[in-house]
Point group: none
Chain length 211, copies 2
DNA sequence: CGAAAAATACCTAAAAACCAGTAGAAAAAA
DNA sequence: TTTTTTCTACTGGTTTTTAGGTATTTTTCG
């Protein structure tokens, strides 16, 4: 149906997975495999010069996290279709990647049929999940009921330092800011996460995979 | 060299990985692939009736954990060689699997050469790690430098409640204890984890997989 | 049983975090 | 270029945690 085959890239840090996927997809009539990439940097570099239609993207990568990479790709190359192929089953991760522009989310244990279907759906512009992912989405776990709050750059930075056990005083010195400012950010973080203190904050951030 | 090829089974919950491995190994002269298994139960069942020489085993499986499965296999079928092929990089996991009788540990991102080498070593009876695993074993990462402190029952309980954002006051009421007692436990927890405050405490506990 | 470990509870005092606001400047988005 | 968001900083007061102890009572285990 398509005039050209889908130029497809696989981004996964495991050569074995790349091998397996290549093998599974090599007989697909509408797919042209253009290569496997083991980290975020190499695929970004490749995208600068070459056209890609479809990216099968893992979440766990050595350099960047797949969620962020997805956003970065979609921001720069709007038309590229990104399908997440990961074994992370956390609801927050699924939701986040879709918000970041992914066209679907499959677990690595999904069948070739599911993969085929999702690619077809993605090309048509809709979003597609593998069966298990649909389940994950439908029954949110207690901890993840609250959507991950979107943090500003500063907030992320300060959250990180708080997690390192630093006091507002110390953070202020490190960032050349008043400790009072840090306190404000602290307050805002607590509010955004809807928690009462750092203990809960760090727990929540961990459950939301922010570290 | 061998009169017979090594009857090799792959145990991994990801069909894609199984595919990839099959592909990578199908041209090996000394290996006869007898199949892929997606969980612990199916391989155990298979072992009851069929002879297997080598098992490539993942740690993360749907039904049992690969470390335990390894022990179970080695207990029942002494002669089977088990090679772990996983992407879990925690030192404790590597050590545990070896103690459970595995003949080696490779990360999924290791090369075919490494895999080949490890299989050869394992057949000879020695234990073999992929390069990265050797590194993990030799210089334990920051998080794991401190052995997970062994906590008492009370401490675990209180840690849990602290993680829920409860104050010493609240915890005291909940457990019918003086808040001062909770403070003491708090202090002891900080000391055991060698941290300065709850933020670090919760981070550390998370990294040590205590939640 | 006796010793060690765990759990309990207290004191004092300082440090840090938390609460409830306000508000101007800078940066980003509409 | 407005408008909105983010970042900055403050006031003033309260609560909680942390740091340095000590000390008695239970449990647990050799």
């Amino acid at each position: 149906m398509q005039p050209n085959k889908l130029k497809t890239a696989i981004v996964d840090d495991h050569p074995i997975v790349i091998e397996g996927l290549k093998n599974l997809l090599k007989n697909e009539s509408n797919i042209e495999l253009i290569g496997g990439f083991q980290d975020g940097e190499t695929i970004m570099k490749y995208l600068e010069s070459e056209k890609v239609d479809l990216i099968l993207l893992d979440i766990t990568l050595p350099d960047v996290n797949g969620m962020d990479l997805c956003l970065k790709i979609k921001k720069k190359y709007r038309s590229v279709i990104v399908l997440i192929l990961s074994n992370r089953t956390e609801r927050s991760i699924v939701v986040q990647t879709i918000q970041n522009g992914a066209s679907g989310y499959l677990l690595k244990n999904s069948s070739l049929d599911e993969l085929r279907l999702c690619i077809a759906e993605a090309v048509k512009g809709s979003i597609c999940y593998s069966k298990e992912v649909t389940e994950i989405l439908s029954r949110p776990s207690r901890n993840e009921l609250l959507a991950a709050p979107r943090l500003t750059k500063r907030e992320k930075q300060i959250l990180e330092l708080i997690a390192q056990g630093k006091t507002s005083q110390a953070i202020g010195e490190e960032l050349f800011l008043s400790p009072l400012t840090i306190d404000t950010h602290r307050k805002n973080l607590l509010q955004k996460f809807q928690v009462k203190n750092v203990a809960e904050l760090i727990m929540s951030a961990n459950q939301q995979h922010l570290f």
